[in-house]
């Protein structure tokens, strides 16, 4: 067996699923409700579809060039220097994404559980955790996602199941959007939450059977995106669209509003947040790994280990840039929308050039 190709389709699916489920889930119902009111689940679904288009392009490219990542095949397609611009944009974007995710979760922790801890501490702890984990090979990276993925689904689904007690079906009506104002923006914001899927471009060159990435992508998106829709639906059903507009992290409030039967734990929010550390970690891991893996490839380094700590101060500094939560979420939205150009627009450009130039990578013997 080819030693460098060890990642199975199931692991690839888990990578996508656990990357999607992350800190973005906490404010997700708010984004969706702002865009579509009670049609929030529908908005989420559309966001999911937009995200899927991006993923499809990545996978399509990945299958055309099964031995190379986007950093490498973009050089073949558009030449070395133009591709450097694209690659540097990718690296920069994912570094920013990492820092924002760390900051976002840092704020969540500081606001809701560790009230007297400075946000710098929680941010650096999360970043360190991710940085240490990125020092491993891509196989171990896949193992990590595969290991944590089921653990992420449990708290998410548990919260949804327990909140059914307080849910009102009437809150979900009307299902269709009442006005088109802000819908596009909301859809794009939600689609931006799926950007971690870009990691597939790094994963496919290590997959045993690159063609199975289609199946993996489908299942990863279905499970991860499905959880998005379900959580949004549950939050809207419990609180109603108008109430959610006043909540910063409706998912966390959802956890607060529920309790386990038999009063085992009186409140679930702290426990939920603790378990959610895993979800945030996997998301951070993906974007951080993407950053340093891409940097490694662009500079043609043999090893990415030293990069993980080299990048840390920059990422941390960026995470500390936003002055407060409000400014941070503005930046999150803007960066997300700019990011869509990089994670969907740039690959779309590449696939068109690839189709026009009829360029393909060396195929791999699929098993």
């Amino acid at each position: 067996m080819d030693q460098s190709r060890q990642i199975t389709a199931m692991q690839a699916g888990a990578i996508m699923g656990s990357t999607i489920i992350g800190v973005g889930v906490l404010p997700l119902p708010l984004f969706a409700v702002r865009a579509g009111g009670s049609a929030a689940p529908l908005v989420t679904l559309i966001g999911l579809l937009v995200g899927s288009i991006g993923l499809s392009i990545i996978i399509w490219l990945g299958i055309r060039f099964p031995r190379k990542s986007i950093i490498e095949y973009s050089e073949d397609l558009i030449g070395r220097w133009p591709s450097w611009i694209g690659s540097l944009l990718i690296i920069g974007f994912f570094a920013v994404l990492t820092s924002l995710a760390a900051r976002e979760f840092g704020e969540v922790v500081v606001t809701s559980v560790l009230k007297s801890t400075p946000v710098e501490v929680t941010v650096i702890v999360m970043l360190l955790l991710a940085a240490i984990a990125t020092r491993n090979a891509i196989t171990t990276f896949a193992y990590m996602h595969y290991f944590y993925f089921p653990l992420l689904l449990v708290p998410g689904l548990l919260i949804v199941a327990l909140s059914l007690k307080n849910a009102e079906a009437i809150n979900l009506q009307p299902i269709w959007m009442q006005h088109s104002h802000g819908v596009i923006r909301g859809v794009l914001t939600i689609a931006a939450l799926f950007q971690g899927n870009f990691i597939m471009t790094m994963v496919i060159p290590s997959m045993i059977a690159p063609r199975k990435s289609i199946k993996a992508g489908f299942w990863g998106m279905t499970i991860g995106g499905g959880l998005y829709v379900v959580i949004v639906a549950a939050a809207v059903a419990v609180f109603g669209a108008e109430e959610i507009k006043n909540l910063l992290w409706p998912t966390l409030e959802l956890a607060k509003a529920t309790s386990l039967p038999a009063n085992v734990l009186e409140r679930l929010d702290a426990a939920f947040l603790a378990v959610w550390v895993t979800a945030v970690f996997t998301t951070l891991l993906t974007s951080y790994y993407l950053t340093i893996y891409a940097t490694r490839q662009i500079f043609r380094l043999a090893d990415h280990k030293m990069l993980s700590f080299f990048m840390l101060p920059f990422v941390f500094a960026m995470a500390m840039m936003p002055q407060n939560i409000v400014q941070m979420y503005d930046i999150v939205e803007q960066v997300g929308q700019i990011g869509l150009c990089i994670t969907i627009g740039y690959p779309a450009l590449l696939i068109m050039i690839s189709l026009m130039r009829k360029k393909r990578g060396k195929p791999v013997a699929d098993q």
């Binding site: 060890q6 199975t8 199931m10 692991q11 922790v109 559980v113 560790l114 801890t117 929680t122 702890v125 955790l129 240490i132 984990a133 491993n136 171990t140 896949a142 193992y143 990590m144 595969y146 290991f147 944590y148 009063n263 734990l265 009186e266 409140r267 702290a270 426990a271 947040l273 603790a274 378990v275 550390v277 895993t278 970690f281």
Partner: protein
């Protein structure tokens, strides 16, 4: 029997040598002995003659040829030497008594007609002769023969085969390994009389020259694994291997990991089971603990009994063991986190009771837990060191009295004591001592994390531990196999122990040459396919018709 035999023939003129014997030997390792026994005696005396336990005995073979015999007095069986060597050499065999023996025939006749020992070989290399004596052999040099006989006469006192002290079972074999390699190999061979069982030997340790046996099943074990084990072992350079634990530390993949990457056992049946699964066992002369590689995490909470008792019950017990394992790792830190950061998580009545118990305690929960945990570790260590007769008393005094008094004195809260007690008991439920040690150790950083960051800190700690486990490999096998990377066959024997007929395949991650344990063609005995009429039901109406 006198311990040391003084012999008249001992010569002391070579006693002072400049270099230690081992260096002298190393520089003369290609020297050969010649036909003169005086030269041979001089050489051996120069090297090891100053040892009081070396016996040198001159005699005459068949009454005519001068000969000499060397051995270490306490390493050999004297009856054996007297009757089977000395007597046999002094008297001509009956069937040759009429013939005269020429000098050139002597070597042949001595080897083929005279010596009654099966383990006899001719050797001319002087260094190897000395080595033979060192290992408990008897060296016989005869005037006129340019080679000497090395006869295996070693007898070492050893303890008898006992119940394994650390891995006792209720149902299962009662034999454990002893120190002697030969005995241990015999224990394996008699359980596994298969031609496929291969035992390779190796010597490790420049001075101890410990014999190391590498056992594997030809046709099952992946040859690449055997090669890897051999190459890792052959790279060890150390003066002495006193236990298999030394080897473990040289061949493991990650020296800095708290988790053991090599399993050890003193049960021959466990070794056989592992060999059949496709693993490699390493035995060292002088150690009653054999090593098994590669090792994955799930082996540490499995026991032999899991397979000897029925699956339903043992699956439940295995689950209990897993719970105990998790308990021993996270229970105290969970307690600290909830008490100091999130008391709202637990039901109000209980929270009030906990707060009441802690009312007089002067320290924050983390300090309290750390103090009690540390004293528990001290007690545990003391119980191991103490003689058995006092040990029981100490554990009662230590645990019961001190615990009770600490609570009464307002030094610790009762809940803390309960927590620590549960944790300690939980760590004893883990069958593998080395894995329990790792978890015991990791508990402390987790408690500190919990004290700093609450539940968030525990999760950070657990993620770090899990990431480490995920990145760990034992001889190339991912440590959490078969959970990660997923393998459905392996899951049947992971958390529960599936019924034996389900476990048709060998562990996938070992990449064995022969994947299946059973012949698929043969029907497995199952209750439904069994003959229903083995015993006819008793009839009441058999009172004569």
């Amino acid at each position: 029997m006198p311990i040391f035999h003084g012999t008249n023939t001992k010569k002391h003129q070579y006693k002072s040598t400049d270099a230690p014997p081992s260096e002298f030997l190393a520089s003369h390792k290609d020297d050969r002995i010649n036909e003169s026994i005086e030269d041979t005696i001089a050489f051996i005396m120069k090297l090891i003659g100053s040892n009081t336990d070396l016996t040198t005995r001159r005699f005459r073979v068949f009454g005519e040829y001068e000969a000499v015999l060397f051995y270490y007095t306490n390493l050999v069986n004297h009856t054996n030497i007297n009757v089977d060597i000395l007597k046999a050499l002094m008297y001509k065999p009956d069937h040759l008594s009429k013939k005269t023996i020429e000098k050139h025939q002597l070597k042949d006749i001595l080897l083929n007609d005279t010596l009654y020992q099966s383990e006899t070989k001719l050797e001319s290399n002087a260094a190897l002769l000395v080595d033979g004596i060192m290992r408990g052999g008897t060296v016989v040099a005869v005037e006129g023969i340019d080679e000497a006989f090395v006869i295996g006469t070693r007898t070492i006192e050893s303890r008898s085969i006992d119940q394994p002290a650390t891995e006792q079972v209720i149902r299962g074999p009662r034999e454990g390994f002893v120190e002697l390699l030969g005995t241990n190999i015999s224990l394996i061979r008699y359980r596994l009389p298969s031609a496929d069982l291969r035992i390779d030997a190796m010597e490790i340790g420049q001075r101890t020259k410990s014999k190391v046996a590498i056992c594997y099943m030809d046709g099952i074990t992946n040859p690449a694994l055997v090669k890897d084990v051999n190459s890792r072992l052959s790279k060890i350079h150390i003066d002495g291997i006193l236990d298999s634990g030394y080897l473990e530390q040289f061949i493991e993949d990650n020296h800095f990991s708290p988790f053991p990457q090599v399993q050890y056992t003193e049960r021959p049946d466990k070794i056989v089971a592992n060999l059949l699964e496709g693993r490699v066992a390493i035995l060292v002369d002088g150690s009653p603990l054999a090593l098994v590689v590669p090792t994955v995490f799930n082996q540490f909470y499995q026991t032999v009994e899991d397979y000897t008792e029925r699956y339903l019950l043992m699956s439940a017990i295995r689950l209990a063991r897993l719970v105990a394992l998790m308990f021993s790792l996270i229970f105290p830190s969970l307690y600290v986190a909830i008490i100091s950061f999130n008391p709202e998580l637990i039901p109000t009545e209980f929270a009030v009771a906990v707060a009441g118990g802690r009312a007089g305690v002067p320290y924050p929960a983390i300090i309290e837990v750390l103090i009690i945990e540390t004293s528990m570790e001290v007690l545990r260590e003391a119980t191991i060191r103490l003689p058995q007769q006092v040990g029981g008393a100490l554990s009662i005094v230590g645990v019961l009295v001190i615990g009770q008094a600490a609570v009464a004195a307002g030094f610790a809260s009762p809940i803390t004591v309960v927590t620590i007690a549960l944790t300690t008991i939980g760590s004893f439920a883990t069958p593998a001592y080395n894995a329990a040690l790792a978890l015991r150790l990791l508990r402390f950083p987790l408690i500190i994390m919990a004290g700093l960051f609450g539940l968030y800190g525990i999760m950070i700690g657990l993620i770090l531990i899990a990431n480490h486990l995920l990145s760990l490999r034992s001889f190339g096998v991912p440590y959490l196999s078969p959970l990660v990377p997923g393998n459905f066959e392996g899951m049947k024997d992971l958390i529960i122990r599936g019924p034996l007929p389900w476990l048709k395949k060998r562990p996938h991650f070992l990449q064995t040459t022969d994947r299946t344990r059973f012949d698929e063609q043969q029907p497995q005995p199952s209750p439904s396919g069994r003959e229903p009429e083995l015993l006819k039901p008793l009839k009441n109406d058999d009172n004569g018709e």
